[in-house]
Every structure is written in structure tokens, then in C-alpha cells.
Symmetry: D2
């Protein structure tokens, strides 16, 4: 067991520019189920794609906190004995992605605090835009911070309040600006809250007499729980032995659910409001085929995230869907990256093109988004090296032009190829024969359900159209996840 | 570092009946490439699906053997330093599946021996039917065995021969009955051999001036090598500093390549002779749609192995392909299995049905095969629990009725549901609304290529039609992999 | 990497009554040496006997803190890469004993905090008697505690002060009651402080231009540094780029250095003021021989702590010193304890009697102290089982009757056999033929040096004579170490 | 779990010249005790000083072998579950020292083999001088070796014999030349054997109805067993369900027990024939004081091995014994060695001089032996740096001039300082004020007991007087341990 790191030396650490948007975090909670830790284990395992860097569970039996956190996958952090030791009928858990190169154990959640009113644990997904300002104010008053995580701010705000715990939590939440979902556990209460725009998803479900909470509904299917509803923007739910009540910590604002959850992040079997993700993605692919058809021999998707859209494109276009690219499912953190020399000789790490499928063929390649453009260029080259005659790139979302301030780890605009280049330029850069992006109205329409009906779809589209739902005028524009 | 086990206490260890066919092994070899170990690492990583239990690489620089083996995935067994220490321009590597509950480190390959003529390393995929008999004879003469692996037999046969090494190897191979692919390394030679029926696949490729060998061609794509050809049944290739020569250690027999490689084992991006696996599986799905159509709202496949066939079925039937089931890609060896109680409450480990996709729908579910039937029953129930109105099971291969003696770990006939039950009975047992299996001629036809032209397709179909290519009359019928 | 534990569930965890006094902690500091971390590593390694449970080092290069802490021995917690990553020319380090069953990683020191004024790290040896009261006050004002360690109190007192850092530290130290030695690091200063009675030792040394600090002088010998002097009771030394200054945070009190440091804790090669420990212990053995002679064939000591006294006894009494008992130096944390059954059959874990030495002999056995008496009984039985004719127990310190409140983990008086029994009763209980304790004046006289000259020797003798140097009237009498 | 190494690349690996003789190995066996594995665990733990590199236990319940081996200390290799899984009432175990840089797991003992007659396990201490020759012969006949260990030779000799097992073992033992103690286990028998000169010690003991065997008697004290007798030179004991019988596999030869066992290797609480080791060493120190007295203020020993002799010297010379040097008991394998720079600045790894003891004093320093002389020079310098006025080196054994071929890892003569230099030259080289070695007759006399009565003491003194008890005329003179 160890704890280490260059504690206060934030930032840095990015080993080379990445070219995928990276997951932020996932949270999971239980209230009223005898073996809450095991349920959390299976729930977090289902949310693993939202964060592979660390995992943690904190339980309470109404009297005592027990917790365990560690670096790695859920299955690596917990073993049977460890899980069994986490007694209690309520729990909150967390999986976390490394952001800003700062993947220290000390930042692994749930964070656990000892306050005047007793124990307090917090798990978050998202980013608090005004956290640096709030933090400075608290430190001026003599608060000591243990982590570099935004999440710690809310604990100090609560601890310093002179009101009762629920009022203190409400007051604290009201002071936060940003996109976030919170699970806050004490020995007698569990609080669930969503930011005022509902930027980051959090849903509630029912398993017998117990309540469960999750960043995504897919975790409910895994544990056999029923989906009840999404937590509303600005809503704070308080669970205790008597039942629960719903309060608003802020007046109703315009809903602005992160559109990247639909495009890339959430698992295809999750459901956001009344929309299944695989189905939405398939519809985006179909719409893309309508908007930007092309004559070709086969359609392929970049695995895994673009498969649904690729199947939709193929179905609508009447072109066969084939497995033109394949991803090695065993790759992962501990994998040894090939040397530059090996890479130049053609050693692939994770994705490879299937020569026997694409050789001599005109290929439509579907991807979900383009961030820096480097991956797209590599993939197009791979297909050509494998003998593809033509490669037509079709992106199942609009051009990604603006950084996210609500929990997604993105480069600044200068490194977003769609901000600095026209579509024609990007096409040339990637080496594709043609390139097209799904239109914004087309995307909203394809997502459909509750979102298709609202103007702007009830979605945050800031990464596409620069229309950020919250004020951003704070000292530090953090472009990464704050959890 | 440790080595342990109840060494000579073979068998047992199966923790409950499994219901998937299990991979046997994968081999990879290099001759004449400066950093042969790294190439083997990436090659074996690509063959990881053929064996997740142990991995190993043995290299030679022409004078000294260096090797490392361990339990776990390729990326777990090797780190950078370890890999760098394996110097040499020739290498053989192995990934192994646990068979017969005997997953000891001592059986991890490549096996390395010290003989009168120097060092000898062997890596195999497959099973030697007459190994127990040969072993008994060798022990009678005073040979000491270190492992319970069939592979050791060939080393002792070579060591005891009074001929030169190549002749000794040829004589040894001639004595073996079964389905196997061998890589045999000494400090100056590399021998590659396939059994007389070509039951287990092994292919050769070219990377610049170097030669590479693999159980599947997909490993060549990963390392940027060109596919040259399959090693022929009964062929023995000898590589040394002067080049290579091809010899036959046995007269030409009827080719009988394992049909399960097409149905289930090989990666979709591999190529067996002139047939791409994804394409063959998609054609099997199309053929299945022709043979056994059904009215339905959507088609889904059991991930990952049945996706290609499901897409084919959907395309041919004109029914939308949807993601009705999903598999958690993070499951694996160290995952804590849910307790019986949690399982009854609906906690799923690996596969789950997507309610928002299947609810109220008539589903065609494609699976590649049925072994015991228990998994099929569980999957059908999952879909119904998730609200599917109808579930029509379509199997993309003929009924699996007979055990394999050539390296696939199968139950005995008594536990093969297709041996003990009629199709109608199986349908009832699984709870499906209808069930159908692809016909044997349909399958051969769909595989097509070189195989579609030969009578019986040049395939081993023993598991379907009981026509075993080799004699089986030895004391112990081993139904598992001998590597 | 992981962090875990039943965080706020303090106490408990003692697996069976122990019968040795247990070390509290050791601290080590460096100011102005280029590779401060390596120096700390060797320093802490030398102090390892003061705490085997966790180890940590925090460094500063004047701008950034870097730290690493872990459970285990110094050599287990740090590897080369880890050590190399701890850059900086100043450092504080800590080794910690498990006390109160609460050996969580979170309590491993140095504790690191982020305050308004920047980074702050603290390492302590000792116990703050009024910590629970101070903690409650701080929590009432909204402070959040991360650990159960007393040490955190001083950080909060400093953070809440409105004065500059040095004044704040001075004010904070003034509020503490107890026995403690502190090392406090910021990016530009290092503060070294001893409690007002000098209860816990801390010494300063010189290595070239650098300053070094240690719980014991033996660490200076290891790193080639020169012993300068002990930090005085109530003294606070402040080191920065300009040099250092000495201040008093409290008026001069009577010195009362822990006498158990002389008897048991400090390494024999350490020096407290002008007294070498081995020599002092040997003199105690000689004095014991004068006070309580006995006719016998050989003298033995309980290894390792009583060897010096035994050699002194033998030399003075003119009886040969022999190795009648031996300790297995490989025992330790991960050793599997023998089952009750094996223990009854005579399996020994750590200590064993040497039959060929003691058989048929009259043995004088020297031990440093008796706590509960169970170990003494076991040892006497061991000697008799090995054939000793007579066993005369001689204890090289007075009867241990009262718990320590200054950092030594002792049972309460009810479990101290010398509190509940007379010497005659203890003798009977242990089964010895005779028993005698060194007198208190004899002990002070034997320690000698600076201590022999002061009345009561300038020593804390509370465990023997119930005369505690500080007030104890606080809510919780903590009988263990607070670091 | 892993197995690795440059398998057949023997030799090398010595990281810099060592300057201590290194332990060879320790063996422990049990016949007829229900939980034989636990007994072996405690036995091997007591023999840990004979080998810290790997440990292993193989048990039999009469039908099945179970074993476990690993790199590291006994307490590191075995945990509770592992130990519990080793069922059976008979066991053999082994601890091994790294010799010749070849500390591979594959060489860890007990070695386990599968032969025609069933399972066979072997544990050895010592070296077989003619092993390379026997090995070449066996390989010529087609035997395959798995290890580079001499021990494997006996298994192949037994496996190739056409006689029954006991006869085969006897024939095999007769062919071996060298110094060795063997434990050989099958499912129904346990064979214990000593070489014809009794070079390597092995003793038998009794625990209730069970028999136990050990390299040293101290292991019997630990488990509560009674010492019975030493196994005689050339004796082979065969234990089975019926009892045991003693046979000779070779005619009686002159006893020649390794004298270094008395000087350095065996634990002070062990007994060789009728001699306790601590007592013998103390007598050597006394004799040394008689032979080479010197005027001085104090006597110290190099810990730990020279303490007994130092106490003897002090007692006889009437000079006080003091702790002038101390050894850090926490040093060990994973400890980070100080950089050259730190070493020059005075950082010590393991041994340090105690300034407050030696400053201004004339010191007699007792060491057990001098091998290369580098350690002696370093120690003398340490004492001088710590202020010693004079340093008189006294060695409690004769000059060590000739390499050992019977299991002790020694340099060749050219690196033995006593072979290449006169005593005066060595004295100058070490920087001591005077130097003297115990005389050979003095040593024999001091060892005393059974040994004092025989001419040449019944000891192997080859390292001192070049009189090797066995022929050495074999191809490779192996100067290290063959186990």
C-alpha cells in the first residue's frame, strides 16, 4: 500500500498529444440494500468505460464508514475479502479517468472527510468551473486541502456552514457553477444532486426496496434494477431512514445535457431519458447516409464506438457492412507500446485494418468524431496500406471546435483541427477521398426522443457551436475533469 | 516468482461445467529479425484470444537461449525490461489456454530442454492422440518427464534418437498421431510442422528478410508482415542460416482443417487459405437466413463471436440489426463472480440484454454454436426478462454432437445437448420460440473459397458428423488440448 | 496502490495482548543537502527499529513538494526510481509503529497539507496529551480532518492563525501539552521542535554544509554526519536559506527525557546527550550484578535488547556469558504464526533456548523489563524445558507500574504485572527460581553522564514512580503514540 | 507466477566481488507427522541463514505429490493457504543460496520428477564433484535435463536403473563423488543420505512417532523435536511405512566434516556431534587470546558471526567486551545500495562503527575469517574514522587459502588474500595495527568434543591445508554449490 506523487505539482504529465476525448468519471450509489458494496462493485464495473484509472467504494452501516480506493480497474482494486469487509446497506462508488496527468491515489474518490457533524464522503462526475475561486476563499479562512480535486470544495463548504447538514449541502451546491453530478454520503443520509443544467447525467433506479443511482442506466440492467428516472437539473434528493424528499437547490434552468454522451461516452445499452444510445447512434449513421451518400463497396466503423453508426449508415445506404478494421480487445494500460522503429515497420498497437476485407474495395469509414485529426490520418493510411481503393470518411457528429469546461478532457481550440481547418483542409490532411460531418440539426433530429422536441434539443452543444450554458468568467478555464 | 501445484495430480479443477468451447493455444515464430522477441510479443498479443492463461517467448541469438514464461496475459507476463533481455534474431512464442484444470506454470510453453545436442525449445498448438502411449514407452526406457504436457514427448523422441537433429525431428513427427502445429527451436535451426491432416492451422509470412509463423494470419497484419501461405499437411519446414527447405515427414493425406476455426476460434480478421473469417461468418449468417427465415423486428448476435453472422442474417433477411445484447469488455480472470443470491436477483457478469432495444420486440438471436445448452437458456431468459416478445434462436453451424480429440476442450458426448436431444427438445429446453441450425452443406458452401470446392470442404467435421480423420484407438481418449 | 481502512473506527485491532513495549516512531530531517531523499532513506533505515509499519519521505526543492509514503519497511516502501523522483535539498522523513491497531496508510507520515501559505509537511514522534480537545475545537470551527493522527492538529492550528508562518508555528506549539519531537517543512523553511520537557529525543548533526536531524544519533553515524547537540526542551529551531535561529516557544521546564529510551528503545550505538546506550545498558547490568548477585553457571540475555546488560552482569559477576537463548532474525511481519497445537508441541516462533548450552546448568537470565509477565513465563519455561537446572531472572530496570502518555504503547495499569503483583508474586508467576529488579537510584546512577548529576536524573520516570511531568487532566487518556 | 532466465547460460552474474563466504543450502525432512508441511516451514525458517534465495517444500500423503517453490525467504514464499494446501505426512524442504549468479526459480529445490516408478523429489545440500561428467554421459544416452543443478543427476541415474528403487538409489549414490547430504522422497519412501566423508552435516531427530531430518540441529529445538544422531558418512537411511533401515552405500571412509560449519555457517545454537557451536566459537576466541594476546581497552566482534569468539577473547584476556560495531538487522536483498558518492561521504549500508564506544580506545576486533580482505580493510577504516586509536585484528580461524569444492561458494586461490599474501602483508593491506590468525591445532583443540580426539579432528581442513578428502580430477572444478 502506498500513496505518492508530486502532490501539489498540478498539470503536466500528458505523454504526447492524445487524440480521443477521454471519459471523465462514473458514480454509483446504493441506499437500503444489505450488501451495498457488492452491488456497487457490479455497478461500477458496468461504468468502467467512464474511467479506468482508479476506483473506490465507501459504505456506511448507519454508524461507521468503511472504504477502499485504489489505482486500476474495479476488478483489480477489489478482491473478495476487501469487498466483504465493506459492510453496510448504503454506499457510494466512483471510477475515475486520469485527467491533466494527475492520476494520484490521493485524488481517487470517494473522498472521505471527518467533520464536526461526523463522517462525510463525496463522489462526483463533472467539473466545477468556479472551484479555484472557492478554494482560494476557503484557504484564506484557514481550511486545509488534502487533494487537488474540485470535489473537496463542497466538503469544506458544508463543514464551515453553521446550518444543519441538509441546509449546508443545499447552500454549498448553490455556490457551485459548472457541470456535475454529486453523491454525498453521511452515516444517516445520502444526497444525490445534478447541476442546474443537467450537464452531466445521473439516473435513479429501484431494486426491491433499495434505491440505486448511476451515471448511466446500463448499470441498472447489470444488477437487475429498474430504471426510474433521471435526476433533474438543479434537483437535490435526500435519502434517509424515513424515505426521501426532492428539493431544488436552484431555480429551473434550461436543460443542457452533454451531447458527447450521445455521440461517444455512454455505453450503447444505456438510456438517456427516453433514448437508447445504440439506437440513437444508428440513427445518426442513417442520417449521415442521407446527408452525405457516396458510392462504395462496403461500410466499416472505427471500433468500438462507431460500430452502431456504421451499421446505420450501411443499412440506409444499402451498402454491405463489413469488418474492415479490428481492435485488439486485450490492449490496455500495461501494454508495451511499440518502438518508433517497429511502428514505422507497421506494428499496430490496438487498431488494424483487415486486408482480406478492404483490398481492392471502396470503403466508407464511419467515425464518431475528429479531435486533433491525427488518428483519422493514421486510420486512412492503414486502410490504404491494406489495399483499399478509396476511403470516404464520414463523421457521425458536427465538427468539434470548442473545448469543454464541464468534465471532458479536451485540447484547447488551437489543437482542435475543426477549429483551425475547413472541412476540405481536414479531408486533405487525413488523406481521405472525401469527408463529411453530420449536420447539427441532423444530429439533434437523430437523437430524437425528448431531445428532438426541445429547441436546441435540450443539449449542451458548446463544443460544436460555442454556446456555453454557464458563465465561464473565472480565473482559470479548466478544460479537464475536476473530479 | 514461484512455481507450484499438485504436480502429478492431473485432471479435475473445472469449477462447474463451462458452456463455451475453449481455445486451445496459439503459436508464433520468427526467424531472422533483429528484435525477434518484440515481434513475438506483438504477434502473441494478437493471438491472445487463443489462450489467456499463460504466455512465453524463447529466443536464440545463435548461441544462447533466453526465455521467459508466466501465468496471465501477454501484457501481464512481459514488461519492457523482460522483453529487452530476450536478445536474439529468432524466437518462438506461445499463448496457452487452461485445459483439464491444469494450468500450472510448469506446463507453460515454450518448453525448454537441454539435450546432448544442445538446447531445444518447443511450442505447440493441438493434441497428440497417442501421446500417453509414447510417454509410457519413454518412461520405461528411463526418461524423466517434467510436465504433464504432450509437447514434452517430441523432445524426448528427438533426444533419444541417434540420428542428426533434422532426421530425429522428422522421425519423431512421423510417430505422432493427432492434430498439431509445432515450432521447434535450436540454436541454429527453426522447424515448423503441421500434422498430416492440417487439422490445426499454421501460416507463414514474410517481413523484409525475416520469416514469421503464426497460428493465424491476423498476427501478420499487426506486425506489418505479408501472408505467404499455409504450412501444408504433413509438411516440415527447416530454417537455418542458409535459408530453408521443405520436406514431408509423412505422405500426403486428405486435408481436414478444423471447422470450428471458421465458426468460432479464429479472429474475424484472420484468413484461412483464401477465406476471410468475418466474411465467411457473415455468409454463414446469410445462408442461415435463407435456410431458416422468420418474421421479426430485429436481429441481434451473441457478442463477440456471433456478430458477423448476425449482420449477415440481418442483411439477407432485410431485418434491422440491433444491439440487443452487450458484453462487458472489462470482465476477465480476476473478476469477482456474483454470489448465487445476487445472481438470482439479476446481477449479470458479462452479458446483458438491452431493455430499451428489445422491449416489446420480436428478436432473432444468432449464436455460433450450442455446446451444453445452458448458456442459450440463460440468454433467452435474459432477453425475455428484458421484455422481448419472441426469441428466435438461429445457430450459425450444425448441431455439435461429438467431442474433439484434436485440441479443443469439449465435454463428452453425454454432455453435448445436440447429441442427447433433438432440435425440438433443445428448443424447448432453451425456452426459445423457435430454433434452427445451419445445415452442414450450407456451412461448407458459406465457408467457400478453397473449401467449397473439395468434397467435404477439406474440413474436419467430426464434431458434427462423427467422421474423425485420424485413428482414435488409443488407451486414453483425451478430449482436451495437449499443449 | 491503494488506500483503505475502516477510517473513523479507531481503536481495537490488537490481536491478542502483546507483551513488549512497542516503539513509537522515528523522524529524520535534512536541510541543504543536494540529494536529501537518499540521505533520509539511509537515516530512516537506521531508525527502522523505532517503527516497522510505515515509512515516508517528503522533499522540497524550494518550490515544489514531492513525497512518497507506504506501509512496510523503508526498503520495501522505496525503490530506486521512487527515491530518485524525490528531488530537493531538504526533506523530512518518518517511520511509524502501528499503535492502537490503527495502522492505516492515511496515518503514515509525513502528513502533507495545502494551506493558504502554501505546502506544509509534518513528521512527529510522541503524543500530544491534549490533542482530542484541540481537535474538537478545530472541528467546531469547520476544520476537516483527514487522519486520526494527533499530528494533524498542529497543521490546522498553523493554517488558522492570522500571523506569519513562524509565529503561527510558535503559537501552535505553545498550545500543545505532551511529549513530542516535530519536524515541520514548508517550501522555504524547516522547523525542528521538542516538547517543553524534552521527553522525546531529537538531535541535530552536521554533514558538510548541510544540517541533519534525527530521533537518534545512530543515524548520523550511518550517513557520516557529525553529532552536534540535542534539541533542547521547549526549543524551536527555524532553518531557511539565510541560516538558522533558535527560539523558545515555552519557558524552560525541568528536563524529563524518557527513561525507556535508555532501557529499551534506542539503538545500542546511539548516544543520548553524553551517554552511549550500549555502555549505559552494560553498566545497568553491572549494577544489577552488584545489587542482586546469585550463584550460577552462566549468564544469558533475552535477545536482542538485553544482551548489553547481560554482558555487563556476566563481567561484573565473573560468571561466563553464554548464548542460552537465540532469536531468529528472519521472523517478522509476514511470518505464519504456529497453530495452538503446534505451539503446544513446542514449536517456537522467534525465541528459542539452546539446549546444549543450558542443559544441567544454573542460568541467570537478564531481561530489560517486564510488562505483562507472559513473555517472562514463557521464556523461563523454555529454559527449563531445555534442561536448565535453575533460572534466576534479573531485570535491568525498576518495576514498570504506570502507563505512558507520551508516545509509548503500554497497557493500562491493570495489565501491568508490576502494578498488580509484588516482586515475590511475579517471581512465582514466571516460574523463576529468583527474581530481582534494578533499583531506581541504581538505574539513574548507571545511566550516568549528564543524567547521573541531576536530581531524578533529568529523566521521566513516570512509568516507575507515577510522577508524570505534564498535567494529564484531559478527556481521553491516550496510552499510545499519537503520531 | 513466472519462470525465466537465460537458462543455459551458466556462470556470470556476480555483481562485484563479494567478501563473505556464502551459505550453500539447507535441507529439512519429515516422515510420519500429520501436518508435515507446517513442520517443514518452521524447520526451514530456522535454517534460513543457510540460504535466503529460494525455498520449497514437497509433500506426499502416500499417493500424491504436492509442492511449492519460490524465490525469497521461507516467510515470503509460503502463505497460510499455500501451506495448508500441502497435505501429507511426509515432506522434504529446501532453502537455497544463489551461487554462480544463477538463482533461477527452475533450480529451486526440491526438484520434482516423474519417472516410470512414479513421482520422485530430491533436496540436496552440497556439491557433486563429478556431476558434469555424469551429466554428459546421461545426455549422450538421451536424457533431457531441465535444470543446471547437480541434483538432477541423481534422479536420472535412478530413473535409468533397471533395479528396484532402493537398489537404484544406492547404485546412484555410489557413483557420486563430492560432499553432499540428500533427502529423496517417493510416495512410499524417504531416503536420507550423507556423502562418504560426512562433509556436509545432516542430523536426525524424533518428534513423537515422527522422524525429522535437518542440516542443523537448531531446527529440532525450534519444533520441539529431540536430537537423535548425525547421519553417518556413507550411510543411507530408508524410511517407509514399516519403519526404517540403515544401509551403507559405500565402505567407511575417514570422516571429514566441513570445518567452516564450525567457524561460520552453522547457527550458534546448533550442535555438531557433541559440540555446541556458540561454545566452540567462544573457545576459539579464548584460544586466540592465549595464542595472540594484545594490550587493549576493549574487544569487539564483527556481527553477527564473530560475537561468540569475541566474547571468548574478552573473557580470557580480561578486557571488556563492548559493542564497537553494529549491524543493521533490516538490511537485505531489496535494500538500495548507496551510490559511490554517498559511500565516499561515509554512508554505510550494513555495518557501522560506534563512535561513542571506540573513540580514543585501543580496540581488539575479532572476525571469523578473511576471504578477499576487502571487508577487513573497510572495517578497520571504519573504526579509525570513528576515532579508534589502535585496531588489532584477530581472526578466529587459520588463513583461508584454498577454494572449496564441496558446496561453499569461494573465490579461486588467486582471489584469496591468504593465498597470495603473507600475514604481515595482509596486516598492512587491511591497515590494522596488528593481525593474527588462530592456529590450525588451536582451532581443532577449541572445537573439541569428538573432533578434538581424532587426528586432524575428523574435519575437512582443505581450505586451510590443501588436503582435499576426495579426488578432484574431473573436467570442471566447480567452486560453488551444486544444489
Amino acid at each position: 500500500m502506498e500513496a505518492s506523487g508530486s502532490y501539489f505539482n498540478e498539470g503536466g504529465g500528458q505523454d504526447g498529444p492524445f487524440d480521443r476525448l477521454r471519459e471523465e468519471c462514473g458514480v454509483f450509489g446504493v441506499f437500503g440494500y444489505e450488501d451495498a458494496a457488492s452491488l456497487s462493485y457490479y455497478g461500477l464495473h458496468t461504468l468502467q468505460h467512464r474511467g479506468e484509472e482508479s476506483a473506490g467504494i465507501c459504505t456506511s452501516d448507519g454508524q461507521t464508514f468503511r472504504y477502499h480506493r485504489g489505482m486500476g480497474l474495479v476488478k483489480e482494486v477489489f478482491d473478495k475479502d476487501r469487498l466483504a469487509s465493506l459492510e453496510g446497506d448504503r454506499a457510494i462508488g466512483h471510477v475515475r479517468y486520469s485527467t491533466s496527468g494527475d492520476s494520484r491515489l490521493a485524488n481517487a474518490q470517494p473522498l472521505v472527510f471527518k467533520t464536526r457533524d461526523g463522517d462525510l464522503a463525496v463522489a462526483t462526475n463533472g467539473n466545477i468551473v468556479n472551484a479555484p475561486m472557492l478554494r482560494r476563499e476557503l484557504e484564506q479562512k484557514g481550511s486545509i486541502f488534502q487533494t487537488t480535486s474540485d470535489t473537496e470544495v463542497i466538503a469544506h463548504l458544508i463543514a464551515r456552514s453553521e446550518s444543519d447538514f441538509v441546509t449546508a449541502a443545499k447552500d454549498a451546491l448553490r455556490q457551485l457553477v459548472g457541470g456535475f453530478a454529486f453523491l454525498i454520503l453521511t452515516n444517516d443520509k445520502l444526497i444525490v444532486a445534478s447541476d442546474t443544467y443537467g450537464l452531466r447525467p445521473i439516473v435513479m433506479g429501484r431494486l426491491g426496496d433499495a434505491w440505486v443511482f448511476s451515471s448511466e442506466s446500463c448499470a441498472f440492467d447489470t444488477i437487475g434494477a429498474d430504471f426510474v428516472r433521471a435526476v433533474e437539473p438543479g434537483e437535490m434528493l435526500v435519502f434517509d431512514a424515513m424515505g426521501y424528499r426532492s428539493e431544488r437547490f436552484a431555480p429551473v434552468a434550461k436543460r443542457a445535457l452533454c451531447s458527447m454522451e450521445f455521440i461517444y461516452f455512454s455505453r450503447p445499452d444505456s438510456q438517456l431519458y427516453d433514448v437508447n444510445l445504440h439506437t440513437a447512434r444508428k440513427r445518426m449513421g442513417m442520417r449521415l447516409a442521407e446527408e452525405f451518400p457516396v458510392e462504395a463497396d462496403l461500410v466499416s466503423g472505427v471500433p468500438d464506438s462507431s460500430i452502431s453508426a456504421a451499421i446505420g449508415y450501411a443499412e440506409k445506404a444499402g451498402i454491405p457492412y463489413e469488418m474492415g478494421m479490428i481492435k485488439n480487445k486485450y490492449s490496455g494500460r500495461t501494454f508495451i507500446q511499440p518502438s518508433q522503429e517497429l511502428r514505422e515497420q507497421g506494428v499496430k498497437m490496438k487498431l488494424s485494418a483487415v486486408r482480406s476485407v478492404v483490398e481492392g474495395k471502396r470503403v466508407v469509414l464511419i467515425d464518431d468524431s475528429i479531435v486533433r485529426g491525427t488518428t483519422s490520418r493514421r486510420i486512412v493510411k492503414m486502410l490504404r496500406d491494406a489495399g483499399a481503393l478509396e476511403v470516404h470518411l464520414r463523421i457521425a457528429s458536427p465538427p468539434f471546435k470548442n473545448p469543454c469546461f464541464y468534465g471532458i478532457d479536451t485540447p484547447t481550440s488551437d489543437d482542435l483541427v475543426a477549429f483551425t481547418h475547413t472541412v476540405e483542409q481536414i479531408c486533405e490532411l487525413t488523406g481521405a477521398d472525401s469527408l463529411a460531418f453530420l449536420s447539427q440539426p441532423g444530429m439533434i433530429d437523430a437523437i430524437g426522443g425528448a431531445f428532438g422536441k426541445e429547441a436546441s434539443g435540450g443539449l449542451c452543444l458548446a463544443c460544436f457551436d460555442n454556446d456555453y450554458p454557464t458563465p465561464l468568467g473565472y480565473s482559470a478555464k479548466m478544460t479537464s475533469c475536476g473530479c
